[in-house]
Symmetry: C2
Subunit: 139 residues, 2 copies
């Protein structure tokens, strides 16, 4: 499965090497379009590159997230999912039915500035997860 997207130059610009393993992982995330768990990434990317192993998947996802190619999101109980980094957004998850809603960054902008000035931290741009009960599950 070849496709036009080539991440090699951007990876090298960040000091990372392009390998067939990384290529397969990035393609899987690109074509899925959504959030995938490491196990899902492993199973799918393996079809493109069968020698792929689990440790490589876990390390690659972490490395690519650290360099901002991917966003990591917590989805409850220590579960984590990844997606290609695109527009900045956040998540709101119903802890009863699992339903999720995307949250724009705009309403968080003021808070971010307050926290940065009061703590001295420079906040990451993305992907905070809020939990709650959706309207259906409140009854």
């Amino acid at each position: 499965m070849t496709c036009s997207i080539n991440y090699a130059p951007q990876l090298r610009a960040q000091g990372l090497r392009m390998t067939p393993q990384r290529n397969a992982i990035l393609h899987v995330l690109h074509h899925s379009g959504g959030h995938l768990s490491p196990t899902q990434v492993y199973k799918q990317a393996r079809k493109e590159y069968p020698r792929l192993t689990e440790p490589t998947v876990y390390r690659t996802l972490e490395d690519l997230a650290e360099k901002k190619f991917l966003l990591a999101a917590h989805v409850g109980n220590g579960k984590i999912v990844y997606e290609l980094a695109a527009k900045q957004h956040h998540h709101l998850i119903c802890h009863k039915c699992g339903g999720t809603v995307q949250v724009e960054h705009a309403p968080l902008e003021l808070l971010y500035r307050q926290l940065e000035s009061s703590t001295g931290y420079k906040l990451d741009s993305g992907h905070v997860t809020f939990f709650g009960l959706c309207s259906d599950c409140q009854s």
Copy 2:
């Protein structure tokens, strides 16, 4: 190790039974005072109640968190820690050095109300985790 705190009545008020396993787990969290991982809880609570097993620890921590006796916090890469629920607060973690800062709930209050009215979700009271770079790690 006996101690004066007895959670039994509060547990029963929530429809939960008090067992020596739960007692040991609650005591460990009470005496530690901070955030503990499930593995840490398991190792310590085992000293008080040696028959304790891992599945019981994981299930108990989830159950107690669901009933709001405990707060769960994500601390990066799918790692989760628990603490006794007390004052509402949030966390800001440096993803380079791991340094953490507590964040009061007050500055999030407005955001919470906005999100609740725009999404229809009723937000959980606690423990959002923000990530960023602390002032030391920004250079």
